[in-house]
């Protein structure tokens, strides 16, 4: 399924160079605090995850300062970030918390072009994302 969307609404937030590989940064996207993570997958493709910057368990805006990692291997590998506050581990693609399902992060779409990172301020519908 292709998600149909217009070209409008995208916010340019920073350059790709400002993203240290596998180290998060926070950006303001229309008053929302969003954490961005630049990672490269096993095939060498580079992309940028965007999730909420607020740790729902700590009630503090710190997710971008977490450590990037992975859980599982091969096809099942999921990219993660561990909150620096109480070390809750979140799936960067879906925002799910893998260590305590009672909390989750909103997930945003990103688009990189010309070395510029764009974020769409409307959070993604996660059930649809998980199903795809």
């Amino acid at each position: 399924m292709t998600v149909r969307m217009g070209g409008g609404g995208w916010v340019s937030v920073c350059t790709k160079k400002q993203l240290i590989p596998e180290r998060g940064v926070a950006v303001l996207v229309k008053d929302q605090q969003v954490a961005l993570f630049r990672v490269t997958n096993a095939e060498g493709e580079e992309f940028v995850y965007a999730v909420g910057h607020r740790d729902p368990f700590a009630d503090a805006n710190v997710i971008a300062r977490g450590i990037v990692g992975s859980v599982g291997q091969g096809e099942d590998q999921r990219d993660t970030v561990a909150s620096p506050m109480y070390k809750h581990v979140f799936d960067l693609r879906t925002g799910e918390c893998l260590t305590d399902p009672s909390g989750r992060l909103p997930v945003y779409r990103t688009w990189i072009a010309g070395g510029v990172v764009y974020v769409h301020p409307e959070p993604v519908d996660v059930p649809a994302l998980v199903a795809s």
Binding site: G6, S12, P21, R23, V25, N61, P84, M85, A113, Y118
Partner: protein
């Protein structure tokens, strides 16, 4: 049922795209609508100037067959697209609305005319389309019969073509260029000078460093003269502007697509815009942050889109500005890093003003690798040089420049057949085999096995590199997993990193682990690398491994702000030091508290404030206290014999010496030391990892104590040591612990696991023969220590991360809120936060 592709713009790139799609779309999946603004089918714009040498507009048309002849293509000549609706997926023209499944914007560029008075006078032209050159020709032909003069504004590629065209029409032309030389984007000063001499020799006048100010009309209202910024007037019956192009991105702009800062439709590496199935190619596309005014990259983009339309995943591989052309009969070529912008690049120049030749090669700092070049007047070696970009020239670069230039073979990127050691004729493949098949595990073994590097030795760095690369590909597999990514204990991993010499995480995990790592193994590797003295904790890829505390060199607190602890060795501090810390806390509104380690903790510092706070502290003579690290924290002391009636040794002096010696030492867990000046033990040294208690004869050393969740008293390790022996023994104890303890294992459980007697044998009797190594490692640590915060303040790259939001570096987290309590501020609780709108205290930044 085929899908509908709409192509907007009928230039060369659009033509290439359609031709390639027709060719490769064997299942006839696509039906194509091509909208051309110009009333002619796509033609060869690059060869526009050949119109003046007899090529008719029909001759310029692209392709063997008319695109319109293919039943899959509908060409709408003169069909200017006026609107694009990405939601409804339609384009509008004067003739109606057309739906599409996929759209390619190939609208190209328009000629840019600078805002010069009179630029719209009759007789002023641009040089972009067939219509432009036809108009220019008609204008000149209508005025023939008297000597005509013309001005071309712009001395770039197109400007020189236009000058050539005017020259061919019998017009005496002057080229006016704003830069200090012709073709400033392609050639350097020397090349520009050579080019100028040749062109002036043909009768074309050249003015560089000249700006056009205005066009003046004659009696008939037509252009008659051009005035330069310096007041000079040049008579001109015709003026051609060749001052660059601007992307035709207005359609995309109105449709809400993302537009680059300097124009152009921003696309990703697959040439896709932000809207699915809407692409942009050619000069209108802003790809990888720039637009391309060359047809080569445009054609590459066309191929990428065709691949994508047919289900592929091609990406734009980048392009370079290499060009070779013949202008007015003059060969000009420019390729690679023509301006020697690579750090350390060398330039090798050959110039023969008499023959009108200028050649330059740009080579790497060792004069071996070709990085780029400029050829003016004789570009015959371009074909052989251009493919060698990035490769070793294999001979003296001069050989390529001399008129009879003899080309030596390329040595290449070390294929197996490449000769590495020419003395003994050993190839790269032989060296690799020595590691993989013969079992050689170090450089010495490889030398013995292959004889490589055993004569002159100049190839040894290369041999070592090859050996290491092969060794890094192998690795030892043991169990005792640190986490799901590493099947090793911390101690095993320490040995692996130490022995292999691997110094970055991606190599370590690629060769010895799985996945991407996690918040357990990453800080462990960071700690191991730090213990091995690999430089600043934020250097290279270490930054990504650090816990936030080590990453920003401060301690994360519950609201996301940090606390700051300057080092106060042994708890000894001057009044001036106290005042300086107090002033910083006051100015930044920080909550202050005395720690258990005899120093001062400053709370509530925001991420973006840390550098400013540390600038003040460093200026006042303070350095990092490493309160954030798994490393030496403090050496606590009592006041000792200098003041105390009962003291028998200078405990403060000893504590200062130890703290300065071990500061910055990264360990499996935090380390705390204590020094008491007598047996009364006021410094609580036996509650520390290393405790020192003064005796009448020297010092007693205790190890393995801690407070916390499982308090332990340190046990006596050695008695009545003199200062030198004491320090050496602590050196060895700490370094042995650093190397062999598990992750987050403090000294108490480590001593328990190894046995105090066994540790005594290792450290006091050198039972393992490693004491010299431990001593050397500690000496290296002591010798290489530098303050992490001072180093960070001196490094703009490291400072860049100290912002709460990268897209608003001045902003602070708007959710932070404080209330005042006992004369200081503290974070508001959740219930307090609902009552207050923002910070209650004015905080000076």
């Amino acid at each position: 049922m085929s899908q509908k592709l709409t192509v907007v713009g009928g230039g060369m790139v659009a033509h290439r795209l359609i031709e390639a799609l027709l060719d490769r779309d064997t299942e006839q999946a696509w039906q194509i609508d091509l909208f051309c603004e110009e009333p002619v089918a796509p033609y060869d714009r690059v060869a526009l100037t050949s119109y003046f040498s007899g090529n008719s507009p029909e001759d310029l048309l692209l392709g063997d067959a008319d695109l319109a002849a293919d039943p899959r293509v509908t060409v709408h000549l003169g069909g200017t697209v006026t609107a694009l609706d990405t939601e409804a997926r339609t384009v509008s023209t004067a003739a109606g609305v057309h739906g599409f499944d996929a759209l390619v914007l190939a609208t190209g560029s328009s000629a840019f005319v600078p805002p010069v008075a009179g630029s719209d006078l009759p007789g002023a032209f641009v040089y972009r389309t067939v219509q432009d050159v036809q108009d220019l020709e008609a204008w000149v032909l209508a005025r023939q019969g008297r000597p005509l003069t013309g001005v071309v504004v712009g001395g770039g590629l197109l400007g020189l073509e236009a000058a050539g065209a005017l020259h061919g029409l019998g017009v005496r032309a002057t080229v006016v260029e704003f830069a200090d030389r012709l073709m400033p984007l392609q050639v350097d000063e020397g090349g520009g000078a050579a080019l100028r001499r040749i062109i002036e020799g043909l009768g074309v006048e050249v003015r560089t460093s000249a700006a056009s100010a205005a066009l003046h009309a004659g009696a008939g209202g037509e252009v008659a003269a051009m005035e330069l910024a310096d007041g000079t007037k040049i008579e001109a019956d015709v003026v051609v502007f060749a001052t660059g192009v601007r992307p035709r991105d207005e359609l995309a702009r109105e449709a809400g697509l993302v537009i680059g800062e300097r124009g152009g439709v921003v696309v990703d590496d697959g040439c896709a815009t932000v809207v699915p199935e809407v692409y942009a190619v050619g000069e209108v596309a802003c790809i990888q942050g720039r637009t391309w005014g060359l047809v080569g990259p445009g054609n590459t983009m066309a191929e990428v889109v065709v691949d994508r339309l047919l289900g592929g995943e091609a990406t734009f591989p980048g392009a370079d500005t290499s060009t070779k052309l013949k202008l007015l009969g003059v060969d000009v070529a420019s390729f690679g890093d023509a301006f020697a912008e690579t750090p350390g690049a060398l330039e090798v120049v050959y110039a023969d003003p008499v023959a009108g030749v200028y050649k330059k090669l740009v080579v790497s700092d060792d004069a071996k690798t070709l990085l780029g070049g400029i050829l003016v007047g004789d570009a015959s070696s371009y074909a052989s040089l251009r493919p060698m970009l990035g490769a070793e020239l294999g001979s003296d670069p001069n050989a390529w420049l001399l008129p009879e230039g003899s080309g030596a073979p390329v040595t290449g990127q070390l294929p197996d057949a490449a000769t590495v050691c020419s003395c003994n004729n050993v190839t790269a493949g032989t060296i690799r085999c020595a590691v993989t098949d013969e079992g050689c595990t170090d450089l010495g073994a490889v030398k013995a096995c292959t004889k490589a590097g055993t004569s002159c030795g100049s190839c040894l760095p290369l041999v070592k590199n090859l050996v290491n690369t092969e060794l890094e590909k192998s690795g030892v597999e043991v169990s005792n997993a640190l986490c799901e990514h590493f099947a090793f204990s911390r101690a095993q991993l320490f040995d692996i990193v130490s022995v292999t010499g691997l110094r970055n995480f991606s190599e370590i995990i690629a060769s010895h682990g799985t996945g991407r790592g996690c918040d357990i193994c990453r800080p462990v590797v960071a700690s191991i690398l730090a213990s091995l003295g690999t430089g600043h904790v934020l250097d290279k890829d270490q930054a990504r491994l650090q816990d936030t505390n080590d990453h920003v060199m401060a301690n994360l607190q519950k609201d996301g702000t940090y606390s700051v602890v300057p080092r106060v060795p042994a708890g000894e501090i001057t009044p001036e030091g106290l005042i300086a810390i107090g002033q910083v806390a006051h100015d930044f509104g920080l909550y202050t508290k005395i720690t258990g380690g005899q120093r001062i903790d400053l709370f509530g510092a925001r991420l973006e404030q840390l550098p400013a706070i540390w600038k003040r502290l460093v200026d006042a003579g303070f350095e990092s206290g490493h309160a954030y690290g798994k490393s030496l924290r403090t050496v606590k002391s009592c006041v000792g014999s200098t003041w105390c009636r009962y003291g028998v040794q200078d405990s403060v002096g000893m504590a200062v010496e130890l703290e300065l010696r071990y500061r910055g030492l990264r360990a499996p867990h935090k380390l705390k030391l204590g020094v008491s000046g007598c047996a009364r033990e006021c410094a609580e040294a036996r509650g520390k990892d290393v405790g020192v208690i003064a005796t009448d004869n020297g010092w007693n050393l205790y190890v393995g104590g801690n407070g916390g969740f499982t308090p332990r008293h340190a046990v006596l390790f050695a008695e009545d040591l003199d200062t030198e022996t004491l320090v050496r023994t602590i050196d060895r104890f700490l370094m042995y612990y650093v190397r062999t303890a598990d992750r987050l294992q403090r000294t108490a459980p480590w001593v328990e696991a190894h046995g105090i007697e066994a540790i005594r044998e290792v450290i006091l009797e050198d039972s393992l023969g490693i004491c010299a190594d431990l001593d050397a490692a500690m000496a290296a640590h002591v010798g290489s220590y530098c303050d992490e915060w001072a180093a960070t303040l001196a490094d703009p790259d490291k400072l860049a991360q100290f912002v709460s939001f990268v897209n608003d570096p001045e902003a602070s987290d708007p959710d932070l809120a404080y209330v005042e309590e006992r004369g200081q501020r503290r974070p508001a609780t959740a219930s307090e936060r609902t009552l207050i709108a923002g910070p209650t205290l004015e905080v000076r930044a």
